[in-house]
């Protein structure tokens, strides 16, 4: 069975590279991109993977979140398949890799400020926030496929992203981020912190994806071994 890893940016894909069949969905139009990939690749499971911002204040950069549900303001919550989640949790435990099992919130814009993170934490109780999980999970469900999301924290809840990164989403273009940072010496500390966080997240993401991929395949094999009557 093929596991399709859907990741929003080429930065995340670069971290995961070589570990699975991978598509880069982009942020805008992520669902359409996934839908197209599903029709072409015909996978058995969709794994949504990537970085996220933490809303849960106990999480730090590099911490792994496995989706308990995908949430989005004004939309019904989406639940990953229980068997898939249980298999992933077992595999994380087996490999002694810590993770939290919580909600992932999807928003239509990047959440970088502490106060906005606090408000979302109070309202949704989601461990992490990103801009794609909900749309991708919904697209997988529409295609009748089980899905699971795994996200790695890049910015902690009590840290704000540098203000000059507002609106920055150029896929994979770190040079643009560097240019923005150079122009704002007051934000160099925040950029330094983000750089360190990025390193931690970059190490954790491929590990997390490998675990979820293995769990997905085990789950599939377990299903095949069940008697048909």
């Amino acid at each position: 069975m093929d596991v399709l890893i859907a990741t929003p940016t080429s930065r995340e894909a670069k971290a995961i590279r070589g570990r699975a069949r991978l598509i880069v969905t982009g942020t805008a139009g992520a669902a359409e991109e996934l839908d197209h990939a599903i029709r072409e690749e015909r996978p058995g499971v969709v794994v949504v993977a990537g970085y996220c911002g933490a809303l849960d204040p106990s999480l730090k950069p590099g911490d792994i979140i496995v989706s308990r549900m995908a949430a989005q303001a004004g939309s019904p919550e989406l639940l990953p398949e229980k068997g898939l989640v249980d298999a992933a949790r077992d595999e994380f435990h087996r490999r002694r890799t810590t993770f939290v099992y919580s909600r992932l919130l999807t928003t239509d814009h990047a959440i970088g400020g502490k106060s906005e993170k606090l408000a979302l934490w109070n309202e949704f109780g989601a461990a992490g926030v990103d801009m794609e999980t909900y749309a991708l999970a919904k697209a997988a469900e529409a295609a009748g496929l089980p899905w699971i999301a795994v996200r790695v924290v890049i910015d902690a809840a009590n840290h704000s992203l540098p203000a000059s990164l507002d609106g920055w989403s150029e896929d994979g273009d770190e040079r643009d981020a560097v240019k923005r940072a150079v122009r704002r010496p007051m934000e160099w500390r925040a950029y330094g912190r983000l750089g360190l966080a990025y390193r931690s997240a970059n190490k954790a993401l491929p590990r997390a994806v490998a675990i979820v991929k293995a769990a997905s395949q085990q789950r599939w094999e377990r299903d095949l071994s069940l008697p048909l009557v």
Binding site: D56, P57, S58, V100, N122, G125, A157
Partner: protein
Amino acid sequence: MGIPASEAFAVSTHIAKQRIKGNKRYPLVMMLEPLWRCNLACVGCGKIQHSEEILGTYMSPQECWDAADECGAPIISIAGGEPLIHPQIGEIINGFIERKKFIHLCTNGLLLERWLPRLQPSKYLTFTIHIDGMRELHDEMVDRKGVFDKAVAGIREAKRRGFRVSTNTTVFADSSPEDMRELFNFLMDDLDVDGMQVSPGYDYPKAPNQKVFLQRPQMIETFRQILAFPERKHWRFFQTPIFLEFLEGKTAMQCTAWGNPTRTVMGWQRPCYLMNEGYVKTFDELINETEWDRYGYGRDSRCTNCMAHCGYEATAVKATIASPLEGIRAAISTMGGKKA
């Protein structure tokens, strides 16, 4: 004076020692339930719905002391049930004092006047009297008339005898901010209690009346209103400023369930004081074999409407200790309450 300096010092040194030892998880307060029998049946309580056989089971003093030794927490919160029903509660308390444990004896106050002559005031002993409102509201929440008057009489007598007295108020859907304002002014100005604790009620599935519980957004709004009253400046809370900010939705916190491990007549309760997934025999099993990351806001649906101090105060204490500025703020807040 709010939290005694000696108690704050004991907690700080305990945390420092645990960190030096490299312990990732360590208890701050042991919640001890030496019995579940109670002389009230409060509408929001989910603690006492057990068989008669279990309600008739009491922990022996030795079991209580062994649990404290095993756990190592500097503070013991004795709850229940009603601990003053326990015929050996005096012996249990004195044993803890000998061990230099700080005790918060949580009681509804009905039997307080009976026990006071048999106990000695000590810096290690604080009576924490459960008061959910002024007369009408409190008696409604505990489902019996006259309880408020009895508890107030107990508080006055305990104060007269030189005991340290605090109160514990649970905020429910029927508790308006104005009710809480009146209560806190009464507790501070008329009864001159040494400190107060406040927490939103936890939506116990077994509680007799499920309509009394607030949802999380309502909790935050209610506490914002309560803590915005001008008298707030002279209310002395036996709680950290960070925890109160958390109740107002101004600070994000995750639960630290292992900070307040619970020992009951059935054993160590997993995972926390409010949720029950069974019991284990030893503290070591509880702390090392519980999958703690499974629990907390966002992680377990039973935690969605929980903002109780037994889960979050440990998080707040750790944050206070970690920041010198927060430590100073906490010290000022516990000492700064003055009569208006």
